[in-house]
């Protein structure tokens, strides 16, 4: 008997016709692009990394602050698009002459989404909680705080153990986020902040929807609802914008794919800068690298312009040291060690390591893979032997290169803000640099006044470049593509947050 097939076929035909009907209705009726923007006050943003949890006090990674900082949480201070520290929940602040006491005057109309008012007591609680309850490594930036006290509900006093310019800057990052004393029980799923948005729904593996906080103390945002949609695959991300599923691509991962947007009048392409220095890191503890001439030979051997063309479609900026252009002490040092193959060869001879074999251990990230090929071929042209190893990122790379420093060369983008000291100021860090000379400069910069800080940081950046502590391949660009009519998009991606509050549709 054929009942089995008859039934299966009948079920299949029903299913198939349902699919066809869906396809037809899609074709004749509304196009899919109508869905996210429906009503005019909803927006969908495409991002690349979904957070695993919403609690950045215990989970590391850039994805959580990107979604929540500035949108759900406010800090006392924040950075504007040009990198300047500006007021947020603190209206103003003063620094004592010994540069150890900061007095903040807070806004008086801020409220948490759980209904509690924001006061100086919450600020004290938030600052102390970094020291007591945070588990991520970033908490160390709060170590310098000796005491935080509530002077009045709108006055906060913070005393540092030693003068530190870096501390106020770090308060613009996630460690400066202000939490409610009565709202930290379920941070991983239910964040409570004072920001322009509150968490709506979180569809794991797909998207996070933020809803406008109608009690927001500042200027209310334009959009009632913003959906952050997560894509692992760059092609899928591009397709989502092309078909109207999203309105903005927050960061374009594959610059060679920009052509389809620049040639289309429906979209705008915005290029700004980031904090992401793509570093060709040297293992300074390896014998060959102890000779400065060897390190300089590698820098002179690399044609950075050609490299940027080949591996990042010419987008991005040559910087020559560990400072992005949005830091106050930026100087363009890209010409300090020009491409000069003959000089590279003679430096290499002088160092006594000509013909050395190097392991270039690359994380499995697209830019590292493509730049790694260029670096290999350029170093081989001065007679070095280069072997490329691919290490799965993050797990294998973190263990092998980062923890065990089992590498000669690696390529990774260091995206943390003002990270010159973190990457090169510590001999235990995987670059194994941290010379006393550099450490002294960094300490003076941190303790001094603004002018001293500026001068010493410039000196530190020049020192790194002269010493060839690493090679700086280029600075990652911030590449954003959006529907033509979206305004208020921050061009530079120099903070941990993606500011949704100023976005609007014209």
């Amino acid at each position: 008997m054929s009942r089995f097939f008859t039934k299966a076929a009948a079920a299949a035909i029903v299913m198939a016709s349902a699919l066809v009907a869906a396809a037809c209705s899609a074709g004749s009726g509304t196009s899919p692009s109508a869905s996210p923007g429906a009503g005019g006050r909803a927006l969908a943003v495409g991002l690349v990394a979904e957070p695993a949890s919403l609690d950045f006090t215990t989970t590391d990674g850039a994805a959580i602050p990107q979604a929540l900082l500035g949108n759900v949480y406010n800090g006392l201070v924040k950075q504007d698009d040009s990198g300047k520290i500006v007021p947020d929940l603190a209206k103003s602040w003063t620094v004592s002459p010994d540069r150890k006491t900061y007095t903040f005057t807070l806004v008086d109309n801020a409220k948490f989404t759980n209904g509690a008012p924001f006061t100086a007591a919450d600020a004290v609680f938030s600052i102390n909680r970094v020291k007591s309850s945070w588990t991520t490594s970033l908490k160390a930036a709060m170590d310098v705080v000796q005491e935080a006290t509530e002077v009045s509900p709108t006055q906060l006093k913070v005393v540092l153990g030693a003068p530190s310019n870096d501390w106020l800057f770090r308060m613009t990052t996630r460690i400066g986020a202000m939490f409610s004393q009565t709202g930290v029980d379920k941070l991983a799923t239910d964040p409570v902040g004072t920001g322009p948005y509150r968490l709506g729904t979180w569809q794991r593996g797909d998207s996070i929807t933020l809803r406008r906080n109608d009690d927001y103390w500042g200027t209310k945002p334009f959009f009632d609802q913003v959906t952050l949609k997560y894509f692992k695959d760059p092609t899928a991300l591009n397709n989502a914008l092309l078909t109207g599923t999203i309105n903005i691509i927050s960061t374009v991962q594959a610059p060679e794919s920009l052509g389809q947007f620049t040639s289309n009048a429906k979209f705008q392409v915005i290029e700004g800068t980031t904090n992401g220095e793509v570093v060709l890191s040297f293992n300074n503890s390896k014998p060959a690298f102890k000779d400065k001439r060897f390190r300089q030979a590698i820098r002179h051997a690399i044609d950075h312009k050609a490299l940027l063309e080949t591996c990042f479609a010419g987008r991005g900026k040559l910087i020559g040291s560990m400072v992005p252009p949005t830091d106050p002490w930026f100087e363009d040092l890209s010409a300090a060690t020009p491409f000069d193959r003959a000089k590279a060869k003679s430096l290499l001879q002088a160092s006594g390591s000509a013909g050395a074999s190097l392991r270039l251990r690359l994380p499995t990230l697209p830019y590292a893979t493509s730049c790694g090929q260029v670096v290999k071929s350029q170093l081989e042209q001065i007679g070095l032997k280069v072997k490329i190893d691919q290490l799965e990122f993050p797990a294998a790379w973190l263990t092998t290169v980062f923890k065990n420093a089992d590498y000669d060369l690696s390529i990774i983008s260091h995206v943390e803000p003002r990270d010159l000291g973190a990457v090169f100021g510590n001999p235990a860090y995987y670059t194994r640099y941290g010379t006393p000379q550099l450490k002294a400069l960094l300490a003076e910069a941190d303790a001094g006044d603004e002018q001293t800080q500026l001068a010493k940081m410039k000196e530190a950046a020049r020192l790194l470049s002269d010493e060839a502590a690493a090679d700086w391949l280029f600075l990652l660009p911030s590449l954003i593509v959006a529907d033509k009519n979206i305004t208020g998009i921050p061009a530079n991606a120099i903070t941990e947050q993606f500011d949704l509050s100023r976005l609007a549709r014209s």
Binding site: A9, A16, T58, Q203, G205, D206, L242, F393
Partner: protein, 316 residues
């Protein structure tokens, strides 16, 4: 009959135990420390040690295995290292998504393959049969993700008929659900259908050569009618076997297709888990997939017995 059933069931149980040991062992030798990945760059050794302790990674492997396996038996998959959320409900959520995808793809594959394979067999010397045969060869050669990308380019980007990605649960918006399911299910279903067609064709061809079919023809039945009455049920046995095996490839194909179409199914969960070194999560998902495959094979065995009475005699 009963003995045969018990035997099959014992094999299923033993396979489950062995595979759980293997899955656990593979995770244990995977390079990369979950605590280090969770804490990222700049983490201090103390913080990492503390987190390892919190995760229970400092205990002997046998203790970790027994904990995990006994949890599984109770239906408890443990708590994710990264998100600190119970794994069981997460996996159940994602499983629903993948199940929709796989089942729809399977139905599409069957709808394509049974008629096409039968026609190919019945007319294997005619032009129409050869044409279908060539077409299915093309289908076999195309991987599901490539089919997916092609479908996106044509139906989403060029024509704008269907969304290129995303997922809406059917209870929320059935129309949107169907639209978003269409392309990924098609890209899996077309490819699987092409593969399945080859099996249906050869199974039907075998049946066509059987004496009973010639007898049926001799009694005056027209070829397709004879096939329908007497042939298809016999052809079904090898096809059902392949169907069981194909479910496995379909699940693996779904992992890739989910990424292309940004669908929050088991595949995406698995890949995220691997890159975050969320070992318990990965173990849970892999174990579930293994279970699904083993149970499907078990069911296929049972289905044989139902379809083909001759096999039932085996346990006499």
């Amino acid at each position: 009959m009963l003995l045969r059933l018990i035997g099959r069931f014992a094999v299923l149980a033993a396979s489950l135990v062995v595979s759980s040991v293997l899955v656990f062992a593979f995770m244990a030798v995977l390079p990369g420390d979950p605590a280090r990945v969770a804490l990222g760059v700049n983490a201090s050794p103390e913080a990492i040690a503390q987190l390892r302790q919190q995760f229970g990674l400092d205990r002997p492997l046998t203790t970790q295995y027994v904990d995990w396996a006994s949890g599984l038996v109770r239906g408890d998959f443990g708590t994710s290292y990264v998100s600190k959320v119970a794994i069981g409900p997460q996996v159940a959520d994602r499983l629903q998504v993948t199940a929709w995808l796989v089942v729809t793809a399977m139905v599409i594959a069957l709808v394509l393959a049974v008629p096409a394979g039968t026609v190919m067999a019945a007319r294997h010397r005619k032009l129409s049969g050869l044409f279908l045969s060539a077409l299915s060869q093309v289908g076999v050669a195309v991987p599901a993700f490539l089919a997916g990308i092609l479908l996106i380019v044509v139906f989403a980007v060029r024509l704008g008929w269907l969304p290129a990605n995303g997922w809406t649960p059917p209870v929320v918006d059935p129309v949107m659900f169907a639209k978003q399911l269409a392309l990924p299910a098609l890209s899996l279903g077309l490819v699987q259908g092409a593969v399945l067609t080859r099996y249906v064709r050869s199974a039907v061809l075998d049946v066509l050569r059987e004496d009973y079919l010639r007898t049926a023809r001799a009694k005056g039945l027209r070829p397709f009618k004879a096939l329908w009455r007497h042939g298809l049920r016999n052809a079904a046995v090898p096809v059902v076997t392949v169907l069981g095996l194909q479910l496995t490839t379909l699940l693996i194909g779904a992992v890739v297709v989910e990424r292309v179409f940004v669908i929050p199914g088991l595949g995406s969960l698995l890949l995220d888990g691997v890159s975050n070194r969320d070992l318990l999560l990965v173990q849970g998902v892999v174990m579930l997939l293994v279970m699904a495959v083993l149970v499907v094979n078990f069911l296929v065995d049972l289905l044989y017995l139902a379809i083909d009475p001759r096999l039932r005699g085996g346990a006499r």
